[in-house]
Subunit: 592 residues, 2 copies
């Protein structure tokens, strides 16, 4: 049984930084060589970053990526790394297709197999996702060829991300070609719980195709998406052979025993998804290695929901700040749980020295607001200041006569204006502290508390905000550290403090009731009747639907923030602002 | 030659208002009946509104639409309109497909043929656009059947919008089935100059298929899209037989002489786009009418660019305001051309009584700013007020120490906060007055002049802003009215007036130079080298690219505004914020 030492490089490219991304490939290939690997695989669109969105429609970008993969192959050889095979994702030029008129000249989302200074095989992604956050039919031409590379006596096929998720297609071609190893390269966005789904899917697919399946995922944040790593290899029997840690870039190495390549089938095959694919063969090194002693590989332990979500938010915040070349952030601390959690995420992401916190008390702010904010800053070591807003609010009130909600919003906007002023003056990125429950119901002020450049907990429901705060404090306590978040910020009833004695519960259902209804309506996209059938209270369902539907305009102007659920507010959920649809109240109420 | 009186109902549905849209179908069908029509056609997705975006993914919405088309057929018959055939667009349930696994149960973008209380034929859109502002592969299953309805001795096929634009597909099926009339129903978004393109395309297609081609388009604004009407019919020889006015809802009626139906071919045909379609037949009334006297039909004159863009902006503003149930708007008047044009559009859209204008002078505002703003308000009759911001800015400055750009932005944000306060207090929608050149270059303040609910000139380059202002004044002068916009607002050099003697030209190239470079980079998506090859100055190209690339984050939080160019900032151009791509400066500079 031929052996092969496979390295999975789950690294963190930057969208558009082709040179820097190529440098990372060289650096990690050198690490793989030092660990004796025979093949190292990098993620989907490693050279361009992913998703590159409409950059892919610009020919200068596609040409740069397609040229770069050739120069990268030559550079690896020149640096003495040519004998280590490399699989790397990139954007390739528009293919010549026989079967498609390709009216739009779209490129391909491709994997290249590099060896001894050459690109010896290119595979173009076959299944293009066009749902959820994905718009890949906008960007790419579908590939219809599967090159199988014979290397060290093993037949190796490359596939890309969605190819694993759909029935039929290149995995079927790989089975028909009797591939011994399929290397699936990914840019698979994080959602809580998705790591298990991926692994189980890969186990099923490996069994279906009777081959080992390697899954290498990207790490890092890119605007609203987080790539969580967790790369792995499963055997044809579905056994996990190695699993990388999540949310960290790095290399995992595994020694595989793989079947001897014997099949030479080429040509067009029906791949069971209504299309045909061409199997091609590339012979690189047909003889197996002499047997060597295999090393044991590690399996990273699974993470609980709070642990994976918290790690995801820290990574997303760090990458948004750094990749956009900010070195510091500023946020308002209300003494409440949302801003306390965001400050803690920021400190964990960037270090306390990069985090500026500001208390912005109004005439309605309680004493504990200021005290809890100061206590958090003290515990975490942020640069803290206090900027009272009452005199500014008074100056506005002398000019314009505002009441009730208008007066409440004014206070929030004065705060937003101060934070943006500090950002402009000092170059800090403003972090927005709103959570998903607020954003869903419109319980926020446009240009007020919603102002900022990045919103770390934008996709985190309020009940999960509390869980994360408790989890983070417990993590600290477990190692004998002071919990970073004052217990009072966790325990106090939530309040916007925009009028005397205001509580969130004056305007919203209890969050323990609200969040499951929001999940049903937003993440599961259920209609009214289906939500009620699922056991939610009809009156609350109606209230929540009205709040969510009526605040789409606010969400459209909200800053980006990391996606952690199956459906975030952003590319995942695209609703019109102008929208008179009201969920039917029963069959009898359907329009007639 | 059988005759048929065809009515094209280019009407204005509201997204989600299924009941109201069905009411419109009944109302306009009655008008068509009174004018003796035998067939009346309504636009794409008439019953649901278009685009309904992710509403289409909700089963309660699809079920309501699919049920409604049946109840509508029955209602038309009950109201004595059953003998008038109706073609209407709606969203239909997921079809049973033989050839596709349809893992995602997506519905169809369909046309129904209603007659005598029944839905006698259903056609599902075959070509689904997934580029530009369109994401239809996200939403719909592609149809693969073409029903041909024999009615009054004529064979009539229905197609939907994009079916006309792509080669092959249902038009090929219609040709193979020897259809005498193809009715293409549309929700085709406006871009300046597109009306001509549509007509020429339809002329070519009619000739290709040897049939008359009727094109009925929607009218109205839906968030960023404008539907401009301009419905028409062309003969097989490419002769326009009728053309409706643009930007107005209404009915055009035309008497057609059409070939006698004789073909009975059914079954599967190759439609030349790599797919097969099934031709089906429905016999409704196979005998032609007795000959009758045909009426002459009108051809609306074409519109010049300024006229069509101005009409588009008025329609978009009116519909955004009214469909979102606002009754009034407020905007800041700086005395400059942008806010003057927006105020004029608002008055033309809503009437002066619904328009509130506010001058917000700072310590740096010039006398002419206030005078020009007041003069515009006087000429147009808006409710005008003056709210000086200097004292409020001073109150901020006492609290936080801001300099240079931070101090300039502060003034803009105080203005934004006042306008939003007036909006919250009085229920006015805030109109944002920024133009496309500013938005492209980031020459605006987040939460300052970019605050608001709708931005009427968001997609209008500054040079076109001036042209539109001059054109609107000339329109008034031509009929002896006072020009609505003070000449001084048109003639003065543009300035943000955020510091003493500031001019736009301190920060930006002259707009006459800037706008063509922006068009090359944004609308044509050219890379640096291509822009220089097209004759643009390299230094300015570099400066513009840097400005545009660096301000993506601002655009992401900008309010919606009407698309009038081939590529607006919005769904048309989707770039990452985190983006280190820099256009290669020459081949030698490509990453290596």
């Amino acid at each position: 049984m031929p052996q092969l030492r496979l390295a999975l490089a789950q690294v963190n490219p930057v969208v558009g930084d082709l040179q820097g991304n190529a440098d990372q490939v060289v650096e990690w290939t050198r690490h793989a060589a030092e660990r004796g690997a025979h093949l190292v695989a990098f993620p989907e669109m490693m050279l361009t970053g992913y998703p590159a969105e409409d950059l892919v429609l610009r020919s200068s970008f596609v040409e740069a990526s397609a040229d770069l993969v050739d120069t990268l192959a030559a550079r690896l050889a020149a640096e003495g790394l040519g004998d280590l095979a490399v699989i790397v994702g990139f954007v390739d030029r528009t293919p010549a297709l026989s079967t498609d008129s390709a009216a739009l000249k779209l490129p391909t989302d491709s994997a290249a197999f590099l060896f001894r200074g050459q690109v010896v095989a290119r595979y173009a992604k076959h299944h293009l996702p066009n749902y959820g956050v994905f718009d890949e039919i906008r960007y790419f031409t579908r590939g219809d060829r599967l090159p199988v590379v014979r290397y060290l006596g093993v037949d190796i096929a490359m596939t890309v991300c969605e190819d694993l998720w759909q029935e039929g297609g290149p995995l079927t071609a790989a089975r028909l070609a009797t591939s011994g190893l399929v290397v699936n390269i990914n840019g698979s966005p994080f959602e809580h719980g998705k790591a298990d789904v991926r692994l189980r899917l890969a186990q099923r697919r490996a069994a279906e195709i009777g081959a080992s399946l390697a899954y290498v995922n990207m790490v890092g944040g890119q605007d609203e998406l987080i790539f969580d790593g967790g790369s792995f290899v499963v055997s044809p029997a579905g056994q996990p052979l190695v699993q990388a840690p999540r949310f960290e870039d790095g290399l995992v190495v595994v020694d595989l025993g793989l079947p001897t390549a014997t099949d030479d089938r080429v040509g067009t095959v029906d791949v069971g998804d209504g299309t045909l694919m061409a199997i091609e063969r590339v012979d690189l090194r047909t003889s197996p290695l002499r047997p060597y002693e295999a090393h044991a590989a590690g399996i990273a332990p699974p993470l609980a929901t709070e642990a994976e979500v918290y790690a995801a938010l820290v990574l997303a915040t760090r990458d948004y700040v750094r990749k956009n070349r900010f070195t510091s952030v500023v946020l308002g601390l209300s003494g409440g749980i949302d801003s306390a959690l965001v400050a803690t995420i920021a400190v964990d992401a960037l270090g306390a020295g990069a985090v500026n916190t500001v208390a912005l008390p109004s005439r309605w702010s309680s004493d504990h607001s200021l005290a809890d904010a100061a206590e958090l800053a003290r515990r975490q070591g942020t640069t803290h200041s206090v900027e009272p807003i009452a005199d500014i609010v008074t100056a506005f009130e002398k000019e314009v006569d505002l009441h009730a909600l208008a007066a409440e919003n004014l206070q929030a906007r004065v705060r937003g204006t101060i934070l943006m002023g500090l950002s402009n003056e000092h170059g800090h990125l403003v972090l927005t502290t709103g959570n998903k429950s607020e954003l869903a119901t419109g319980y926020s002020t446009l240009y007020g508390d919603s102002a900022g450049g990045f919103a770390p907990i934008k996709d985190v429901p309020k009940t999960l905000v509390w869980k994360l705060a408790r989890w983070r404090n417990a993590q600290a306590a477990n190692v004998g550290k002071t919990p970073p978040i004052p217990q009072n910020s966790i325990d106090k009833p939530p309040s916007a403090e925009l009028r005397p004695d205001q509580l969130d519960s004056d305007s919203l259902p209890d969050y323990g009731v609200l969040d499951p209804v929001l999940e049903a309506y937003i993440e599961q996209d259920l209609g009214r009747e289906a939500m009620i059938a699922a056991g939610h209270d009809p009156a609350i369902v109606d209230r929540v639907i009205a709040l969510v539907d009526g605040s789409e305009y606010k969400r459209r102007q909200y800053p980006p923030g990391p996606k952690i659920t199956p459906r975030n507010f952003g590319r995942d959920r695209r609703l019109p602002i102008t929208n008179r649809w009201r969920e039917p109240r029963s069959d009898a109420d359907l329009p007639a």
